[in-house]
């Protein structure tokens, strides 16, 4: 039992990330020869999985109950209402009639479709003449800050974010720059900087944020970093970042990056 207890202590430290790197490496090596230890680790992993799943389930149930209680009416249609809506759609479908087209109108219709197709093809395939600034303007939108703010507050943070939400990016930039240098504040400072042609300033901030994988807006920072390079006419640097993003299937900006790359 003592050996098992000692193993369990090590396993817990290993799984919780509390083991120093070199000790963890030794631990992994030990597992290759100690089948009992490997089994015990697998059992603990399974247990953690079960506990996580059960606790997540409880929390999900709690939130679902809260949702039903407080937002029930607006959040979802009742099954009966859904049936009603579907029935109405079905009824509408039943009444639809097929009207035969006059042959002459049909020829005109085909001809106009061909013309429309040719025009669309020309529009899509023509060489791009968009400048870096055009591409920046086409793709940049300050990131939405959805925080609920107190309009009359004298608090510096509230005032800065209120200016941001109101679209007064010049003032927001000044005020946000004076807030504590936390990642969230830096991100919105960079947004305000991009909105007011201060790409150099944005670039410095976004470079650090894009490298911080623990920052929840890291992917947004990468995308805006590419846009900052565009604003600075550094097209190659922008393209390199966009290529990285477009290769990453889980990146939230993959689609935007892929579309933008086609416009260069």
């Amino acid at each position: 039992m003592e050996a098992l207890e000692k193993n369990q202590i090590d396993i817990d430290r290993y799984l919780m990330g509390e083991m120093p790197q070199d000790e963890a490496e030794q631990f992994v090596l030990r597992m290759e020869t100690d089948g009992e230890l490997a089994d015990q680790l697998a059992d603990t992993r399974l247990a953690i999985d079960i506990i996580d799943t059960a606790e997540d389930g409880l929390l999900k149930d709690r939130l679902a109950a809260l949702e039903q209680e407080e937002f029930g009416e607006s959040s979802s249609q009742s099954p009966n209402l859904r049936v009603l809506v579907n029935t109405e759609k079905a009824e509408t479908k039943k009444e639809a009639k097929v009207i035969q087209m006059n042959p002459l109108r049909r020829y005109f219709s085909i001809a106009s479709s061909v013309l429309l197709f040719l025009a669309a093809a020309w529009f899509l395939l023509r060489p791009s003449s968009l400048s870096n600034q055009d591409l920046f303007a086409e793709n940049f939108a300050p990131y939405t800050n959805s925080e609920v703010l107190d309009r009359g507050s004298a608090d510096d943070r509230q005032t800065a974010y209120f200016a941001y939400q109101s679209g007064d990016y010049d003032q927001a930039y000044e005020l946000l720059s004076n807030l504590p240098q936390e990642a969230g504040n830096q991100f919105f400072t960079a947004q305000a900087a991009l909105a007011t042609d201060r790409a150099e300033e944005a670039l410095d901030l976004l470079t650090a944020l894009a490298a911080d994988i623990n920052f929840p807006l890291q992917e947004e920072s990468e995308w805006h970093l590419a846009l900052a390079h565009l604003q600075l006419d550094e097209r190659e640097a922008a393209q390199a970042i966009l290529r990285e993003i477009s290769r990453d299937n889980t990146h939230s900006r993959q689609r935007d990056a892929t579309v933008l790359l086609t416009k260069f």
Binding site: Q8, D52, K60, S146, A183
Partner: protein
Amino acid sequence: MSTVSTLDDTALFDRIRAGEHQLIDELYRRHRQPFVTYATGRLMAIEEDAVDCFQESVIVFYKNVVSGKLTELSCSISTYLFAIGKRMIYKKNADRRREAPTEVDDDRQYADEVDMTIFERIDDDHRRSQMQAAMSKLGDACRQILTLSYYHRYPTESIQTTLGFSSPGAVRIKKMRCLQQLKQLFTSE
């Protein structure tokens, strides 16, 4: 003292972190509508998905807080929730596009058209319900000790004090027995 509804982000975060888990309800109430409006309006999500993703992002946030992965707020709670929720919406939208019914020729090989992730998801759901069933059969004492230890990451000494064990060693032995019991319950499901 400030009422719950006037707590600012830092205070709310600190109190959830200190163990006032019920405040997650306040966090949900505060940010739910702006997220759903944003997700349905800007991200083209259907309302059901928007609500679901928001709930999932609250769970991720809560887990990161209680597990100690998130020790301080580097941005507002709303920014955090929106960032997580947005990624989930992108994934949901992509899944829905994959699942959208298409008109297929009768002669075509239906098996080629099947999205295998649906089966993986059914497997996942089955495994998840097995896990939940095993956990629900575990006694209260075991459930508490394992949850405090692995979900809330309490140190052994804190579990000893919270659950009234005689020594840290007693907590460790009980925990090992509970782990074994949980595994047996799961495999018998």
